[in-house]
């Protein structure tokens, strides 16, 4: 009988064990909630952006975004631009002529506008409503020129998905989370 009472826990022991495990469970739940809240807070305070120094303009931004029209657009660092007469971000590698004719342009959607400044300088501006973020101009500019054209996530369009599908498909790892109060990674002027 006494042996039986040693093996079977009493009511008090059951209560203590329940309290102990209950306290442990509560501690775990609180910790988990804190981590979740912190992660959620982090996500809310950061946004997706492309590091232009790592981006290789592969074209994935144009097709992997969950939006029908990608949130990634081409941006122009005017301070880096050479305002070239023959811009290889604007003209195809073998332009038939040096003018704004569609057949001479590199951009498949005609999203870059070329306007005369003074001889021999021209200004290039991006029409974001036409740009689909394919990065073709970025490649042309960075291969031959100063790399003034580069891709950025436009935050007036981006849904800031928790798991960005472009980030997952980015072959160079150029997608990163940046603080929401500094949402763009703009190109620097120091070109030497």
């Amino acid at each position: 009988m006494s042996k039986h009472s040693e093996q079977t826990p009493g009511r008090r022991q059951i209560l203590i064990a329940a309290l102990r495990y209950g306290a442990l469970g509560l501690l775990g739940a609180t910790g988990g909630a804190a981590v979740f809240a912190r992660k959620k807070n982090n996500t809310q305070n950061t946004v997706w952006q492309i590091d232009p120094e790592i981006c290789i303009a592969c074209g994935n931004c144009a097709t992997y975004c969950v939006l029908e029209e990608s949130a990634v657009k081409c941006m122009h660092a005017y301070a880096v631009c050479g305002y070239c007469r023959i811009c290889f971000g604007f003209f195809g590698p073998e332009p038939a002529d040096i003018n704004e004719g569609a057949e001479n342009q590199l951009c498949p959607t005609g999203a870059i506008k070329r306007s005369f400044v003074e001889d021999p300088y021209y200004e290039y501006t991006i029409d974001e409503s036409l740009c689909m973020g394919c990065g073709k101009c970025v490649k042309g500019c960075s291969t031959f020129g100063n790399g003034a054209l580069y891709l950025q996530v436009r935050h007036d369009r981006c849904l800031n998905c928790n798991e960005c599908s472009i980030a997952a498909a980015c072959p160079s790892g150029a997608f990163k989370r940046v603080p929401a109060d500094k949402p763009y990674l703009l190109k620097r002027v120091d070109h030497v």
């Binding site: 981006c55 592969c58 931004c61 290889f88 332009p95 960075s142 031959f144 997952a168 980015c170 190109k187």
Partner: protein
């Protein structure tokens, strides 16, 4: 009746099993085809692909040189310029030093510098003129600092330096001007500012590549990369003539701003270097295309397509070039930080070829 009910039940089961099987197959195909890592590419059409691969191919008949010696490893992480001393010693500027090599690649010493050198030249008396970003330093032979010239201001980006009997010429890409100094470092005049009366349109230098050299005819040759030409000036700054034209083809200068660097051979022909489509070519003194030293396929691993795969941080850089008195061409590969040596194998002159 009972028989029909059994048959109907069996048919329904087969139908459901079939549907489940189809659903599983569709799911498996979807999972297999779903590309979360982007390895299958963007799926964009050919019109969205940037490809200069075909442009980079050069007719082998136009290549007049071949690599004649093993490349010299400069051991720099970022080399910038090459120059040859009159007796043939190779000087390479990079990081914060100048390194000397003989043609076999043997290390002949190093000059440590406080700043990063942008370019250099060696005078007949062995003095070394080194341009940093915005000032010039002179070193003696044996190398010891002799003088530091005036700072040319924060806008200055010095990219090339050359000496004549009495003068030192410095190309300033930041101010788009050539500074002429005497050998004590006193500024004599500036060359190349826009001047309609002198018919000088001014230098167009979109990127920090702006080269010059003193030719044996006593005129200064300066690149005007944004205009795709090489211009000849008197030392007093009068524009005498120019040559060069834009062309994606091998006979002209491709891209937004080329040539980036050049050197002049003993017979007064020019060796030009282009960036983007990295090409080293020979032009006669009037600028007519003579032939190719090496094209993108010889100079860049993977050819021109590889260049356009670089991220902007490692943009296709401009190679530098130097020549010796026997006509060998020394190409400074600023991607691999090595010096590649080319020797002429064909005396063919392609200047009479008509390009489409």
């Amino acid at each position: 009746m009972k028989m029909n009910r059994r048959l109907a039940t069996a048919n329904t089961k087969i139908l459901i099993a079939g549907l489940i099987a189809v659903a599983i197959v569709v799911a498996v195909i979807a999972v297999v085809r779903f590309d979360t890592t982007g390895k299958k590419g963007s799926g964009l059409g050919q019109e969205f692909i940037y490809d200069v691969g075909e442009l980079g191919k050069i007719d082998p008949n136009l290549i007049l040189y071949k690599e004649s010696a093993p490349a010299i490893n400069t051991r720099f992480t970022k080399c910038r310029a090459i120059a040859l001393a009159p007796q043939g010693t190779i000087y390479v500027a990079g990081d914060k030093a100048i390194r000397k090599f003989d043609e076999s690649g043997n290390d002949l010493g190093e000059i440590k510098l406080a700043d990063a050198p942008m370019c250099l030249t060696i005078d007949t008396d062995g003095k070394i003129y080194i341009a940093m970003k915005n000032y010039v330093q002179v070193y003696g032979n044996p190398p010891k600092p002799l003088a530091t010239w005036q700072n040319l201001g924060s806008d200055a980006v010095l990219t090339s330096i050359a000496v004549s009997k009495n003068d030192v010429f410095v190309a300033d890409a930041g101010n788009r001007i050539v500074h002429r100094f005497d050998k004590t470092g006193k500024l004599s005049n500036r060359i190349g500012a826009r001047d309609k009366d002198k018919n000088i349109s001014g230098f167009v230098v979109p990127s920090p590549y702006f080269d010059l050299a003193v030719a044996r005819d006593g005129l200064l040759r300066v690149t005007n990369p944004g205009q795709h030409r090489i211009e000849a000036y008197t030392f007093d700054g009068d524009l005498e003539f120019w040559w060069g034209q834009f062309s994606a083809g091998v006979q002209g200068f491709c891209g937004c701003c080329n040539p980036v660097n050049f050197a002049i051979l003993q017979d007064e022909t020019f060796v030009t270097c282009e960036k983007g489509l990295i090409r080293v070519k020979i032009c006669d003194p009037e600028g007519a295309f003579v032939g190719v030293v090496a094209g993108p396929e010889q100079l860049v691993e993977g050819g021109p397509s590889r260049v356009s795969e670089f991220g902007p941080a490692s943009q296709a850089p401009g190679f530098d070039v130097a020549v010796n008195t026997s006509g060998r061409i020394f190409v400074l590969d600023t991607i691999k930080n090595v010096v590649r040596i080319f020797t002429r194998t064909s005396q063919k002159n392609n200047s009479d070829i008509t390009f489409p």
